[in-house]
């Protein structure tokens, strides 16, 4: 139970103490308060699920039964029929006071389990303490049977048999990257232009598909020839899409029926009865038809997201709600005044809560790397319209205000800043940050539009529709720009680049020759020899991951496939191909660079102390590293304190950082995705810096095996940014944020007391303008004081609602491991 503040505590006092969560509780409506508290928290606490959270076994069972039954069908049809069976039979529920419905489990406390994704995840589930529904013995038996059925037949198993065995083993060592190269565990952009801007309900799409089938049948019933042969497969795919769309409409109408039954037979409160009837009407209308009210607009979107998540475990939630729901909001709230702004705010708040509720069982690496959440639901706000004009509207403000009322850790917002954003909007953005939410992160819109055009050739108008594909990477929501299948598997554990350069490619942690043999570092005579070894390791590491992902992408229609996602994507509806096929996809890939900054700090330390000043030899260094710095403490301190560190506006190390990035950027253009586009680097970490802490060995920046890695993509090491925030921004500004990579994550901790009041806001705004002048693409803030965080460590019960920015996402402070908490506290509080 969360503790309560003294009853008589005034809002002003709470503000002074920065206990924003109590303020939210006082200010939000009774409905929002109930809905917010009724949610079961699905995010892992460190690496464990909270007590009471159970895995849903009904859906995997329903799915497996039908999957087995339809075993002679081609992949897409087989999946569609199995999913339709799930949608027809899975138990559904409506939360009290809710106005929006749809959950990807059969009960509110359940985690979805994607049973056909990877055998090893299924095995983890069997071995995981605490998540089996009662009675445990019966559940274990069910899981064992399901696992036996799927063993060797999941998407990852199928891919692993095709991969080069060396790549497969090295990828699965867990040392160089993470993720699972299949859309079963990917995340998909949604074709919002098709559904919302072009106003297609599912019935409209069914008509489009029927037209396509008719045209195809003209071919299959006409003169024989080789050109008509692929058409037969496409017709089956269209059939699969139709099955999904019809099943989805029926699924929504099950909610309508339930709401109507509740209203007519059980509900005694006339107001709630009216709400339930409106809910019933809403679910009858959407997703069958394009939405005609604000509530329908949100409900349509939520159904789409839930259906996509029933089909695959999606690790992210690309969305731009203030842009795509604006027409209905404008109609209902501003033009026709069908609902009040307060009522709209309730809907927006609940829309966030419904997303917060969503959770699927993730393997341990995912839980550790995304502590406290079940995926990076980063919603995009602000930005520009296709013609370049300011897209911020009253719904943008409503989202920013609702966020402070419901205070969920997930979804978070990324705000597309540009010079035309009005002061009114900036103030709301700042209020969210000041209230310690850690979001929105601020994104430099003009720069990122340029970046999207530079790397992936998106035309200007399309680039301007971009949303966060996951935490950071911009991706358009258009027919050819939308990315239906992004796998986290091209996520590089970059610190291994410098580690392998020093250890001749051998990994002392996982006991394996990993990288190429680039030579005994003890014999290196110059820094350039070391740097050449680093470059070779970098290329090898990125290549291994990208080969794996490319093959996963190419084989996915066969090994997994997405009938529902295809059905809501213009490209697939038009072509009859599974949307995960690379055909027609412009290609929007990037390599997520975890643990990146250690490379620059490590290389700089070796250059300075070994090659330039010759205070230590390579022998000394390698001996120290092999002993994990044990017995070399004084030397370790020299490598920390006497070598320049990234983030202090020091050209010695900043130059090495830029050189490394340019080396990667050059390679990015040499490697291609299945659509033929480049693979730029995107340094960021989520909480992978903690997950990898016991997997990356000792490094010349003074880090030991076990220590948390640096937290950001280009953030300085915690406590190593000695020259203040301006020096941090100046260092970061030396990177070309268009040509050197895809995007660059920067964490900053700000002092809450210094940013109080109007003066604080003006200073922050000046800071943001300068950040933009220096050409940075991203910055996000923690504005919770050390005192509060320390108090939360001592007395977690009382501080359940403290939210912090971890990396590309926010989490409740009490839900992350001690090591991660300490890592956040170690970050320097920047006095601006």
């Amino acid at each position: 139970m969360a503790a309560q503040p003294a009853k008589d505590t005034s809002t002003q006092e709470l503000e002074q103490k920065q206990e924003w969560w109590w303020i939210a509780e006082k200010k939000r409506s009774k409905r929002l308060d109930y809905l917010r508290k009724a949610v079961w928290k699905k995010g892992a606490l460190g690496g464990n699920y909270a007590p009471g959270i159970k895995v849903d076994l009904e859906i995997p069972q329903l799915f497996t039964n039908m999957w087995n039954f339809w075993r002679y069908d081609p992949p897409m049809l087989r999946r569609a029929k199995s999913m339709a069976h799930v949608l027809e039979n899975m138990p559904i529920f409506i939360t009290d006071h809710a106005q929006l419905v749809g959950y990807m489990g059969t009960l509110p406390h359940t985690l979805a389990w994607r049973v056909d994704g990877a055998t090893m995840v299924n095995e983890e589930l069997y071995n995981e303490p605490g998540v089996m529904p009662e009675p445990e013995q019966a559940s274990l038996k069910r899981v064992a049977d399901l696992n036996a059925y799927w063993a060797g037949n999941t998407a990852v198993d199928k891919l692993a048999r095709v991969l080069d065995p060396e790549d497969a083993v090295k990828f699965l060592s867990g040392a160089i990257g993470w993720g699972a190269p299949t859309s079963a565990y990917g995340y998909s952009g949604k074709d919002y232009e098709f559904m919302f801007a072009q106003r297609h309900g599912f019935e409209d799409i069914l008509d489009l598909i029927d037209q396509s089938i008719e045209k195809a049948e003209d071919l299959t019933m006409g003169n024989p020839g080789p050109e008509i042969l692929p058409v037969y497969d496409r017709i089956q795919n269209w059939d699969a899409m139709k099955i999904m769309l019809n099943a989805a409409i029926a699924y929504a109408r099950r909610y309508a029926r339930l709401a109507r039954i509740l209203a007519e037979h059980y509900e005694t409160d006339p107001k709630r009865k009216e709400e339930l009837l409106r809910l019933a009407q809403t679910c009858e209308n959407v997703p069958a038809k394009a939405p005609s009210t604000f509530q329908e607009s949100l409900q349509y979107d939520h159904f789409v997201q839930i259906l996509a998540r029933l089909e695959a475990h999606e690790g992210a939630w690309p969305a731009r709600p203030d842009y795509y729901h604006w027409p209905m909001y404008e109609k209902d709230v501003i033009k026709e005044k069908n609902i009040t702004r307060e009522e709209a705010l309730d809907l927006v708040g609940e829309f966030m809560i419904r997303a917060y509720e969503v959770g699927g069982f993730g393997p341990r690496w995912a839980r550790e790397g995304l502590q406290g959440i079940t995926g990076t639901w980063v919603w995009t706000l602000g930005g520009v319209n296709k013609d370049g004009s300011d897209a911020c509207n009253d719904l943008t403000l409503a989202f920013l205000q609702a966020a402070r009322l419901v205070r969920v850790a997930n979804p978070t917002f990324g705000f597309r800043w540009h010079p035309k954003v009005r002061d009114e909007v900036m103030r709301e953005v700042f209020e969210c940050i000041r209230h310690g939410l850690g979001y929105p992160s601020i994104r430099n819109d003009p720069l990122l539009i340029q970046n999207a055009m530079h790397w992936h050739g998106h035309p200007l108008e399309e680039a301007r529709t971009w949303v966060h594909q996951a935490c950071m990477s911009p991706c358009p929501t258009t027919k050819h720009g939308v990315q239906p299948m992004r796998m986290a598997s091209a996520t590089a554990n970059c610190a291994k680049m410098v580690e392998y350069a020093l250890h001749n490619g051998y990994d002392h942690v996982v006991q394996m020759q990993m990288g190429p043999k680039t030579g005994d570092a003890r014999k290196f005579k110059t820094f350039d020899e070391l740097f050449a070894a680093w470059t070779t390791q970098m290329k090898w590491l990125i290549n291994t991951l990208v080969r794996t992902v490319n093959l996963g992408r190419y084989k996915d229609p066969e090994f997994y496939g997405r009938p529902f996602l295809s059905a809501i994507s213009e490209r697939a509806v038009e072509s009859g191909l599974d949307v995960v096929s690379p055909v027609g996809d412009r290609g929007n890939c990037w390599v997520t660079g975890f643990t990146w900054v250690e490379n620059a700090d490590s290389l700089a330390a070796v250059k300075k102390l070994v090659f330039d000043e010759k205070r230590y030899t390579m022998d000394d260094l390698l001996n120290a590293l092999e002993n994990n710095w044990n017995g070399y403490e004084q030397m370790r301190r020299d490598f920390v304190n006497d070598a320049p560190k990234w983030g202090n506006d020091d050209d010695f190390v900043d130059g090495i950082m830029v050189r490394c990035l340019q080396e990667v950027a050059k390679h990015s253009r040499e490697i291609k995705c299945p659509s033929g586009n480049s693979w730029p680097l995107l340094p960021e970490n989520v909480s992978g810096n903690i997950h990898y802490s016991s997997i990356v060995g000792a490094l010349p920046n003074g880090r030991r095996l076990g220590d948390a890695l640096y937290d950001g993509g280009i953030s300085p090491g915690p406590g190593l940014d000695k020259k203040g925030p301006s020096a941090v921004l100046k260092s970061c500004g030396k990177i070309d944020h268009v040509g050197d990579g895809r995007a660059f994550l920067l964490n900053q901790r700000l002092s809450p007391s210094q940013l109080a009041g109007e003066k604080g806001y003006q200073l922050w705004k000046a800071y943001i303008r300068t950040w933009a002048d220096l050409g940075l693409d991203h910055v996000q803030f923690n504005m919770v004081s050390d005192e509060t965080l320390r108090a939360a460590q001592k007395d977690p019960e009382k501080y359940q609602e403290v939210i912090v920015r971890v990396a590309g996402y926010s989490a409740h402070f009490v839900d992350i491991s001690r090591k991660t908490q300490d890592n956040i506290i170690q970050r320097t509080v920047q006095g601006i």
Binding site: G631, E633, R637, V640, N701, G702, L705, Q793, T828
Partner: protein, 74 residues
Amino acid sequence: MKCTECSFEAPVEKFRYLYNARIDASISLRQCPQCQAWLATDELAGEATQKVGPGEAPWGKSAGIEGLAEDAAS
């Protein structure tokens, strides 16, 4: 090094290394293999400074034992 809790004595590297207090300070967290207590350890001196209980932390910035290592530049 000697465990401040159970007096187990062994070379410092026998104590399981957990993580650092701050990368630029010589205070780290180690775990005693005998009694499993978390110990704040002075790496320069090779001595266990004190036990770190649940909800506590070994250095200045964190809850529990304030002042063993300096806070980050503020």
